[in-house]
């Protein structure tokens, strides 16, 4: 029988795969995909907790998080286009200008 821990473990794995993608990759697009994977993992946690604790409200929060993810990817991609216009590159190391 599927328990709450099954879903929590699964979303944990998804979250860390996303976090690893953000930390290890240098392509801006893949970093954005990693952020989205992490958001999805949190959604999965919310829905599974809501299901196993008997609260329907979790689904409403998941809906809100989806809208926030949409806003985030919208602004993120606009920033990527902006950066590409300046440096003609999607490598994240080219934008470490504040570090120098």
């Amino acid at each position: 029988m599927i328990t709450l821990e099954h879903y929590l473990g699964l979303s944990l794995c998804l979250f860390f795969i996303g976090a690893g993608g953000v930390l290890a990759r240098r392509n801006v697009f893949v970093m954005l995909i990693g952020i989205e994977l992490m958001l999805n993992a949190v959604n999965l946690t919310l829905v599974s907790y809501g299901r196993y604790l008997g609260h329907v409200d979790a689904q409403v929060f998941t809906l809100f998080m989806m809208a926030i993810a949409a806003a985030e990817i919208c602004v993120g991609l606009a920033l990527v286009i902006c950066m590409f216009k300046h440096k003609r590159s999607t490598t994240i190391d080219d934008f470490a200008t504040l570090k120098q």
Partner: protein, 209 residues
């Protein structure tokens, strides 16, 4: 039993495609892997009896967000030799760290967790949420109730389409009000957030204002 098999199939698909989405070199391939991950998560939502969220996952994520991502990737069209040189040592370090974190989190659970008594079993959860939402746990009901419930669900769809095409109906509000009623303000603020994001994206990418 069939649910367990489905769960493991979706889990393997989700983890595999998520790894694909993160390690492949070309971002367009990563986006394709990302779509498969989203579809698998939508399947898990369906398995968790939240079918509205499952449908919205496909509509919003796979429909809107990934489309936007793919369009921008193809718009910028970075040639293969100009893709960033990835540091493969980092992959191994990251992979090992992820593994360590997962093992740590599974074996030493955090202090904040709900009481064991509060967590429902699969069947209990089906029974509780059935009263709250019209579209959950159909498969656990007896046959006549299941038919009744499916009628309700599809009846709701018919009522929504009836609202658009002019048949006098009620019903959509009754289902939506207990869910969204307490969160009306948050819902409205969210629409402002989306508007601000859209305007911000246009301002950021416009050549000269």
């Amino acid at each position: 039993m069939s649910e367990l098999i489905l769960f493991w199939c979706l889990a393997v698909l989700m983890i595999g495609s998520a790894i694909t989405a993160v390690v492949l070199r070309n971002p367009i391939n990563c986006a394709m892997g990302f779509i498969v991950t989203l579809a698998a998560v939508a399947g898990l939502f369906w398995l968790l009896d939240s079918r509205v969220i499952s449908v919205l996952q496909v509509l919003i994520y796979a429909g809107a967000i990934v489309t936007l991502l793919v369009v921008v990737i193809m718009l910028l069209n970075v040639p293969d030799e100009k893709l960033p040189q990835e540091n493969h040592v980092l992959y191994w370090v990251g992979g090992l760290l992820i593994l360590a974190f997962c093992i740590q989190a599974i074996t030493f659970p955090a202090g904040v967790s709900p009481d064991k008594a509060d967590i429902l079993t699969y069947e209990q959860a089906s029974m509780t949420t059935t009263n709250a939402t019209p579209q959950v746990a159909i498969q656990h009901l007896p046959r006549d109730q299941r038919i009744q419930r499916e009628r309700e669900v599809f009846g709701t769809m018919r009522q929504i389409s009836g609202r658009i095409f002019g048949t006098p109906t009620t019903g959509a509000e009754e289902h939506a009000a207990p869910r969204f009623g307490p969160y009306m303000l948050a819902f409205e603020i969210l629409s402002i957030l989306l508007l601000v994001a859209a305007v911000g994206a246009v301002i950021l990418t416009k050549r000269n204002l």
